[in-house]
Symmetry: C2
Subunit: 251 residues, 2 copies
């Protein structure tokens, strides 16, 4: 029944509503991107989407719209500030560097989550987060903060070990390019050990031949060695995410 | 469309036909188990199923029937010989030991594959193999032999490195219990390195907290430490297999 509903949602080409949502966190003006299917009248599962280190660009907006096409209410949050975007790796590293290892990472993501919940469109018991690269790591931090998400999906995100005693209610799905040399085997082992120690429900999927940022069709344009699009890994990771969300939301 | 067809196949409770199929390989009398949905009249994708080291028991017969329920023609082959079955790990180790590291492993599997193709029910361009534990390893050996399978799925099978120069047309999906201490990290690394060197398309999925034989509800009854059923990993691995088969068969 659920499968049929999903197919139908796609085939009817439901109208997707999108709009910018301005909000604030600790004095920083932020602007996220909301996407949902306007034919749905009852509260829907919600999916928070966290951008790559480049900021909230068209790529991540498109992901929110794809999620809306699946019948979810999607909110691409903003970590950096309204309009703060870059294509320069040094600048991106600086922007993302404000958050790594700091409580601000989860706190800023929670501010986005609150916006999603405040839309009134979402069933608050059915919320998940996904993220790409930096956003994948951020979604992990959000999980460990005990935020009310059933699960998180990290697409080519750096694995962030769970702090000791972190709440473990969010299920974790890690989607990883097996050829991604930015992420060392030791870091993966440390990560999974921390999740096991913390009693987390996690899955880790390796895609052969996929490099960092494998899901972004523009990845190669950034000219960073080891960052590349991989169509098979993109397609498969999206399908793996869909399965996971269906499990989380009981669909 | 495909999703809808799958739902329908389940909801109508199509009649599943099963029958024992006697055949021979190198003088050994074998008996496999064929399962298919009799409402299907055109050639269907075929799935070969390879049993655990216990032999062709009810568990693997049931898997063949589940595949038939998905609309595939499934053939649970016999590696050991008609009625050769055990519940004793020492005996199972001896039976499986006839095949590890020997050409007989792929050859015996190919004999099963020929039976599947000989049914006349199968589209010979759409065939895959799946296997459990010992059968997972066997399905890898079958892939490396260049047998006409589009892909193989190994459920908690020992990883078998690809021989240098092995044909790489079969895609490989490895479904692994992350807590399976029988399979060492070094063995996994050697395996994936061999696949990368051979240009294989592979995916590897780790399920947290799952031990060896995680998909077999009877696993705990065998009384082997480190062998245990895991309902979440069972359900998820089956869904991951379904996705993979749909990709292979263009559904």
């Amino acid at each position: 029944m659920t499968l049929f509903t999903s197919s139908l949602a796609i085939s009817l080409q439901a109208k997707i509503i999108t709009r910018a949502v301005a909000y604030e966190h600790e004095g920083v003006q932020l602007e996220g991107w909301l996407a949902y299917d306007d034919t749905v009248t009852t509260p829907r599962p919600g999916v928070l989407v966290v951008h790559e280190w480049w900021g909230l660009n068209d790529y991540v907006r498109h992901r929110a719209e794809q999620l809306a096409g699946l019948g979810y209410v999607a909110f691409a949050l903003d970590m950096y500030g309204r309009g703060v975007l870059t294509r320069d790796p040094a600048e991106a590293g600086k922007l993302a560097g404000q958050f790594y290892g700091k409580p601000l990472m989860a706190a800023r993501a929670q501010a986005g989550l609150e916006q999603l919940l405040a839309t009134g469109l979402v069933n608050p018991g059915k919320v998940a987060a996904i993220g790409y690269c930096f956003g994948g790591t951020t979604s992990q931090a959000l999980a460990y903060s005990g935020a009310p998400v059933l699960g998180i999906v990290s697409f080519h995100g750096n694995p962030l070990p769970a702090p000791e005693g972190a709440p473990n209610r969010a299920k974790i799905l890690m989607l990883h390019g097996a050829a991604d040399f930015f992420i060392k085997p030791e870091a993966i082992a440390q990560f999974t050990a921390s999740l096991d120690a913390g009693g987390f429900d996690w899955q880790w999927i390796n895609y052969a031949g996929a490099y960092h940022a494998f899901s972004n069709p523009d990845a190669d344009k950034f000219g960073v060695k080891g960052v590349a699009y991989n169509a098979a890994a993109d397609r498969r990771s999206w399908e793996h995410m869909r399965l996971f969300l269906r499990e989380l939301f009981g669909e």
